[in-house]
Structures are given as structure tokens and as C-alpha cells.
């Protein structure tokens, strides 16, 4: 029995020594590699900065001529720059990448067996805003690895080809769909040309798809879709979708949104929908909403009353006047200084106080 212990101790001692040695080795190797990378990247990084400083007009040939190992060392920096640059400098740097064969390599790697390589390649193609890569990137939307699909969606957004809209919408209708927020952001990046597709997708059987399209339409300012969105607000079977429709109508800010939003405030509607509709009325900026919102200040659901008060605040002078009236009426009828305010007056006081602070902040900023 004891010999087993002795063997175990010897093995443990060996592993402890190897682990300690491995820590030292890893550290030495890392330092050596970092020094080498820094040395190799120094010249191309300087050239890159000079190229950007010249707005991409000069220095391109020099960057194309950088040896492969030095370019590899500086590539993370160059890719980071690519994501930040706009205009001529961006186009110039894209041209450098293309001349160095980056697009060809990335397109080839889209079929790699490694999900990390496929994702990296998609990222590069997106950074290069390469339109001819759109069909290949759309193919990646059905990749078996979720992270590859996510990077492909992001890359399609960077490229901004509206032809990809349907494929992105289809990627939402899967058992393991791409994240809704990312899809929304990407669909917005595709621009107003995607509006027709998004509006048509409001009839999609999948609730998630409808919610994403509503959010995207709101951010695109798709005023032409108000009637379709109002129909979703009224009839959709899913509460989350109806809430998204209310938010979208608020963002669009058209007069025709007033009536459907007011209808959504009825007491029989779910509290989350009523709160969203109240908030949307504030976003709408229509003074005609003041009486409706004022009636909601005393609502028994905290969120509805709270949103109504702040919607009135955002509506400007007419809304603020309504809030003041509610507080003044109550102040005049209160039995004593220590008597509490009603729900309506409490919410009105909160909104007025915030309006006052925000006004002060604006004045301060202007000064």
C-alpha cells in the first residue's frame, strides 16, 4: 500500500515541477514573440499611420510591398483602423488590403473547416465592405456555428447591400436564430431600400421576425409603413410584438400614429402595452395626446402612470402645463402640509422636477 503513496508523491512532485517550468517557459516564449511582433510591426505601423495622415492618397504602394511576415504582425492594427476610418482614407486602405490579396484569402477561408477561421474571414470581408462577398456571407447565415452566423450578419450590415435583407430575416426563423438586436441593427444598416422587405415581413408567421422588423422600421423612420404597423399594434397575437409596434409608432412621429396609440391605452389592454403606448405618445410629440395622458396619471399600474407623466414632460409646454395643473389642484385641496400626494400628483411632481433639472442642464450647456 505504501509504495502506491510513494509513487503518487513522486508523480505529483514531477507534475508540480513541470507546471512550474511550464509557467516560466510560457512567459519566456510570450516575451520573445511579443518582441518579435513589435519589431516586425514597427515599420508597417508607421507606414499605416502616414498613409492615414495622407488620407490614403500616398503610401499605398509602400504598404503593398511590406513583406508578408511584417504585414501579419501589423494586420490587427490595420484591421482596427479599417473599422474606424471613413471616406477616402477607408477606401485607400481597402485598396491596400485588396492588392495584398486579403479578399481572395478571406473568401477562400469562408469554406475552412475551422469555425474561427470562417468567422475571421467574414469579419475581414465585412471590414472591406466587399459587395461581391454578399452571396457567400449569406450562405454563412446557415452555418452550423452560431458565432459564425453572428459575424456574417455583422459583416452584411457593414457592406449594406439591401439584397441581403430577406436572408437575414430568414436567419431569424431558425431554431437557433441570430440575436434579435444584432439583426435589427444590421437591417437598419441596409438602409431605406430595405423598407419594402421589412414591411412585407410584418406578416411573417414568426413573432420574433415581426418584432425585429418593427424595431428596424422605427429606426429607419419608415413613415410609409404606419398603417401596417398600426394593424400589428391592434391585431397581433403576441404582446411583445404589439409593444414593439407601439414603440415603433412613437419613433416614427407621424400624426396618423396618434389614434392607434390612443386605442392601445384602453384599460382592457395589457399593462405592458399601455405603458409602451403612453411612452410612444410622448415620443410622438403631438399635443393632442395631452388629455389622454393626463387621465393616465392616476392609473393603478405604476409603469403606466410613470410613463404617462414622463410622456407629458417630453411633450413640452402643453404637457408641462397639464402636469402643473394636476399638482396645483391637489396642493389646493390637501388637508395639511404632511398629507401625502395622490398617485397622479406624485407622478406629476416627479416629472416636473426632472423637467426643471433638465432645463437647467440645457441652460448650463448652452452657457
Amino acid at each position: 500500500m505504501l509504495w502506491v503513496f510513494t509513487v503518487v508523491i513522486a508523480v505529483l512532485a514531477g507534475i508540480v515541477a513541470v507546471t512550474a517550468l511550464a509557467i516560466v517557459t510560457v512567459r519566456l516564449v510570450r516575451r520573445r514573440r511579443q518582441r518579435r511582433t513589435a519589431r516586425l510591426a514597427a515599420q508597417p505601423r508607421r507606414a499605416l499611420l502616414a498613409f492615414v495622415a495622407e488620407n490614403g492618397e500616398e503610401g499605398g504602394d509602400e504598404l503593398v510591398a511590406v513583406p508578408e511576415d511584417a504585414w501579419r504582425a501589423a494586420e490587427p492594427h490595420a484591421l482596427a483602423l479599417l473599422g474606424k476610418l471613413r471616406g477616402e482614407a477607408h477606401l485607400g486602405l481597402v485598396s491596400v488590403f485588396l492588392r495584398r490579396g486579403a479578399a481572395r484569402t478571406a473568401l477562400g477561408q469562408l469554406s475552412s473547416r475551422s469555425p474561427v477561421r470562417r468567422a475571421r474571414a467574414a469579419q475581414v470581408l465585412g471590414d472591406l465592405e466587399l459587395r461581391r462577398a454578399v452571396p457567400e456571407l449569406c450562405r454563412l447565415l446557415t452555418d452550423r456555428h452560431a458565432e459564425v452566423r453572428v459575424v456574417a450578419v455583422r459583416a452584411l450590415g457593414r457592406i449594406g447591400d439591401p439584397a441581403a435583407a430577406w436572408r437575414i430575416i430568414a436567419a431569424l426563423d431558425r431554431p437557433d436564430p441570430v440575436p434579435s438586436l444584432l439583426a435589427t441593427h444590421t437591417l437598419v444598416q441596409l438602409g431605406p431600400e430595405a423598407e419594402v422587405t421589412l414591411s412585407a415581413a410584418l406578416d411573417h408567421p414568426q413573432a420574433r421576425v415581426r418584432a425585429v422588423c418593427l424595431d428596424a422600421l422605427g429606426l429607419l423612420g419608415a413613415a410609409g409603413s404606419v398603417h401596417r404597423i398600426a394593424r400589428v399594434l391592434r391585431d397581433d397575437a403576441y404582446l411583445d410584438v404589439r409593444v414593439a409596434a407601439a414603440n415603433t409608432l412613437g419613433k416614427l412621429g407621424t400624426r396618423s400614429a396618434l389614434e392607434p396609440l390612443t386605442q392601445a391605452l384602453r384599460g382592457s389592454r395589457p399593462a405592458a402595452l399601455r405603458a409602451a403606448a403612453a411612452r410612444a405618445l410622448g415620443d410622438l410629440g403631438a399635443p393632442a395626446a395631452v388629455p389622454t395622458l393626463r387621465d393616465l396619471l392616476g392609473d393603478e399600474v405604476f409603469q403606466v402612470a410613470h410613463e404617462a407623466a414622463h410622456a407629458l414632460r417630453r411633450l413640452g409646454p402643453a404637457g408641462l402645463e397639464a402636469l402643473r395643473e394636476v399638482v396645483e389642484v391637489e396642493t389646493g385641496t390637501r388637508s395639511g402640509a404632511h398629507a401625502g400626494f395622490s398617485t397622479a400628483a406624485s407622478h406629476a411632481r416627479e416629472a416636473l422636477a426632472l423637467a426643471e433639472v433638465l432645463q437647467g442642464e440645457r441652460v448650463g450647456a448652452a452657457a
Binding site: 500500500m1 508523491i9 509557467i23 510560457v26 510570450r30 490587427p76 438586436l181 407622478h347 433639472v357
Partner: protein, 487 residues
């Protein structure tokens, strides 16, 4: 005859304890292997993680950062300044002054030009103290809110903060924490990537003692000066960084530190917020979330842990404070496991019920009891002749040698993955601390932890007590958040 029976019993008990130590350290190694795989995956994906896109997107979910504070006057301004300068597109900071007896509020009022606002405080989650006033920063009313309330403990302060938070995600942060600039972005990212399933996400907490902190940012990571804190650095790496990452990969994470964690607000409200009766309210919330989500959604949700960037916290530098902290932590584990005992070995709760919670009973709750038993029974076995000296020293060497190996492996993974301690001397100190941990530290820790379990069993009210803070980069005295039972 009886003597022989006692000797046999002791012999077998010592052997059982030995097997227990092997199993315990092997389980740590498995978790570390999982963590190593997770770190590798994380590091390979950084180039296409999309953090910059998240920062630029108008759709990134806004976060309410809740900072409960009790007598933090000496450091609160720097902490709030740093928190209002995090890299995140849209967030608010809600500081809850839990009845401080020092100048915590006055410092905030002066520095941020606070003005009172008559906020209506909903009771979406119950709280038992009284909210005295709510203030906003005059120059930044949408970003900074400060609440004054009567003292009710950390959980109660968090509940008030949750009620006042306006955003769909709530991030709970200790008032002595220093966050990396991208910390919020990283810990909130999983919610954007998988918004329907991610319920909570914990961030890693590292020890700030010895680090250089400038303008609320850790700018130079160094090992602390005291060996007591250095040992804790190794312990944090092994237990928190590696352990929790491993559990996250296995889908069994049950602890998210109260010092840095993000939760979906609607789910926190659904489960009733923090439990003020439990001293480990952070972990209790996570277990309760699992309980709720397993019942309502089966397994279609995720509670995860991100290893980088981090929140930096000050660790106890004296045995007195460390003892109090560890008694409290272990008492928290005992209370949580007691409260949720019906989940243990219950297949309805999947990996949480069948793997994670039984593991916590066996290897977290009972570990100090077994360690103390070994300290007592091994010499006793020697004395009565149940075991001989040759067995005893080998037993001790294997048990502690395996523990040392586990600590070294965690240092190795840290070196490969994050390399936070760039100085050779700091890494050498880490290795020495891993050795020293076995001489006195583990044993005294076991005593405190058993005392914590006994406290939970007796059901006495827990007291958090005061902590003398060293401060970040200066001598700062303040007291730690007071929990349940403080009058």
C-alpha cells in the same frame, strides 16, 4: 476488542478522508480544464467578438448600475466618477446610501451637485427600510441617481436600487469596486448575443491590493505586499476565476459575485429581488433564479460567467477581517443550501439539482469539516497506532501536494490566458504563495468556515462588522457594508 475496533474505525476514516481530498482536488482540476478550454475559446474569438459594434449600436441594452454604499465617504466620489466614465453606450448609476453615519451622501452631494427630485419609488420588489430622498446630478440627471434611505442592509439597499432602476439590465457592483473601462460592455454582451436566454452574467473579481489605481482605473497590476493577501490572490484565481468559468461551461453556475454581476431586471423582479434574510444574498438570488427558470422554462436559459475584463476589489489584509469575511461566506453557503435543499438531487432542476448543488454540499460546505477532521483524526490515529508514521507523512504530502498542484495549474492557466501579472517577481510570489497557503492558512480558514456553518445551524443573526480599508493608492479608512442584523 474495543481498542481494535477504534483503531479500525480510525484507519478507515483516515483513508476515507484521503480519498475525499483526492476527489476534491480532482474536481478542481476538471473545473480548471473546463476553464482553460473556455479561455482558449474566448481569446481566439476576441478579433471578431464585435465589442466595438456593441458600443456603437443604438440598440445595445441599457444598464442600471446599482451601487449600495454604507460609510464609503472616503472613496465614494472616486468610485462614482469612475463608474460614470465606463465605456458603454447607455447606462445610469444608482447609488443607494444605506443610512451611512459618515459623510458619504454629503461628499456625493457636493461633488456631483445633487438636487432632490420627488421620485415615486415603486415596490416592484419588496424593501423594508424607508426611502428618505432621491437626488439626481444637476449636470447629468439621467445618468446619476443617489438614494438616501434608512439602514436596512445590503440586500435591502439593492432592492431599493432595483425599484428605482429604469433599464432592462441591472448591474450590481460593490461601492469599493474598480471596474475595467470595458467591464460593463463585456458583461452585458451576452445579453445582446442571446437576449432571450441569458438571464444573468457574472464578471470576475480580482484583488486590487497592491495595484496602482489612477482616476478610478487599475493602471498597473501588481502582487500585494502582504503574504496573507498574496495567498488570497492565488485562491481567487483558483476558486473564482477558474472555478466559476468551469461551472459556467458546464452549465452549472450558481454563484455570481455581488461585487460584479448583471441580471435581467424583469427576472429579478419576478423572483422578488434580493433576500434580506440571507447573508449570501448574491448567490441566493442566482439559485432562486435557477429555481424559478427551471420551473417556468425548463432548461432554455443561461446563467454565465465572463472572465475578462474584471472588477477589482480590496481583499482583507488582516486575519481578523479575513476571518469575519470567510465565516460570513461559508455561513451564506450553508444558508442557501439549507433554504433550497429541495433542489438538491432533484432531477427537475437538471444539472443544478443533480451536479452543482450536490457538489457545493460535498466539496464546499463539507470541505472545511473534513479538513478539520483530518487535522484531528490523523494525529489521533498515530497516537492509538491505527496508522503508522510512514502512512501519515505520505498522506499529508499527497493531500497538500495535490492542492499545491491545483494552485500551480491555475497560475499556469492565468499565465497562458490573461497574463495579468507581467513582472517576474510577482509571478514568483504567486508560486511561493501557492506553497505557503498549505502551512496554516488552509487550516485556519477551515476553522472559520466551520464556525460559519455552525452560525447558520444555530440561526443566530449574522453581523457583517467593520472593515478597515487600506484604500486604493492611499490610506483610506471606511467600513464595510453592514448586512442583516445590524441595529
Amino acid at each position: 476488542m474495543i481498542e481494535e475496533l477504534v483503531r479500525d474505525a480510525l484507519r478507515w476514516t483516515d483513508l476515507a478522508i484521503f480519498v475525499y481530498f483526492l476527489a476534491l482536488n480532482s474536481s478542481y482540476l476538471v473545473l480548471m480544464a473546463m476553464a482553460g478550454l473556455e479561455f482558449g475559446k474566448h481569446l481566439r474569438r476576441i478579433p471578431f467578438a464585435g465589442s466595438d459594434d456593441m458600443f456603437r449600436s443604438p440598440l445595445t441594452l441599457p444598464v442600471s448600475v446599482i451601487v449600495p454604499a454604507y460609510n464609503e465617504g472616503a472613496s465614494i466620489v472616486a468610485v462614482v466618477q469612475a463608474m460614470t466614465a465606463l465605456r458603454y453606450p447607455r447606462y445610469e448609476v444608482v447609488v443607494v446610501d444605506d443610512g451611512s453615519s459618515d459623510d458619504t451622501f454629503e461628499q456625493l452631494r457636493k461633488h456631483f451637485d445633487l438636487v432632490p427630485v420627488p421620485r415615486v419609488v415603486p415596490a416592484e420588489v419588496p424593501y423594508r427600510s424607508q426611502v428618505l430622498s432621491v437626488h439626481v446630478a444637476r449636470d447629468n440627471p439621467q445618468t446619476l441617481t443617489v438614494v438616501r434611505k434608512t439602514n436596512g442592509g445590503k440586500a435591502d439597499a439593492l432592492n431599493v436600487g432595483i425599484n428605482l432602476s429604469r433599464h432592462p439590465l441591472v448591474c450590481m457592483v460593490d461601492a469599493d469596486s474598480v471596474l475595467d473601462p470595458d467591464a460593463l460592455l463585456s458583461v452585458a454582451k451576452p445579453f445582446g448575443d442571446d437576449p432571450l436566454r441569458v438571464a444573468a452574467c457574472g464578471g470576475v473579481v480580482r484583488i486590487a491590493n497592491g495595484c496602482k489605481v489612477v482616476g478610478g482605473r487599475v493602471v498597473d497590476v501588481r502582487m500585494p505586499r502582504q503574504w496573507l493577501v498574496r495567498i488570497q490572490v492565488v485562491e481567487y484565481l483558483r476558486a473564482f476565476l477558474m472555478g466559476r468559468t468551469g461551472w459556467s461551461r458546464l452549465g452549472g453556475l450558481v454563484v455570481i459575485s455581488g461585487a460584479f454581476g448583471v441580471f435581467r431586471r424583469d427576472l429579478v423582479v419576478e423572483v422578488g429581488g434580493m433576500d434580506p434574510e440571507t447573508i449570501g444574498e448574491d448567490a441566493e438570488l442566482v439559485v432562486r433564479l435557477h429555481h424559478h427558470l427551471r420551473r417556468t422554462r425548463r432548461s432554455d436559459y443561461r446563467v454565465i460567467f465572463v472572465a475578462e475584463p474584471v472588477s477589482w476589489s480590496e481583499a482583507p489584509a488582516s486575519l481578523r477581517v479575513l476571518g469575519r469575511q470567510r465565516r460570513r461566506w461559508h455561513r451564506g453557503i450553508a444558508e442557501i443550501l439549507g433554504k433550497h435543499r429541495r433542489m438538491i438531487f432533484n432531477p427537475r432542476y437538471g444539472r443544478i439539482g443533480l451536479v452543482a448543488l450536490p457538489y457545493y454540499v460535498l466539496f464546499e460546505l463539507l470541505a472545511p469539516v473534513v479538513e478539520l477532521a483530518a487535522i484531528v483524526l490523523l494525529p489521533l490515529g498515530l497516537w492509538v497506532g491505527a496508522v503508522d508514521v510512514a502512512f501519515a507523512w505520505r498522506f499529508v504530502l499527497v493531500a497538500y501536494g495535490y492542492g499545491l498542484l491545483v494552485s500551480l495549474v491555475s497560475l499556469f492557466i492565468e499565465e497562458v490566458s490573461f497574463h495579468r501579472y507581467p513582472r517576474w517577481s510577482d509571478m514568483a510570489r504567486g508560486v511561493v504563495a501557492a506553497v505557503l497557503e498549505n502551512f496554516g492558512y488552509r487550516q485556519i480558514l477551515a476553522v472559520w468556515q466551520v464556525a460559519g456553518v455552525l452560525g447558520a445551524v444555530r440561526g443566530r443573526k449574522a453581523v457583517w462588522g467593520a472593515m478597515q480599508r487600506q484604500g486604493f493608492g492611499g490610506e483610506v479608512d471606511s467600513t464595510e457594508m453592514v448586512g442583516v442584523g445590524r441595529s
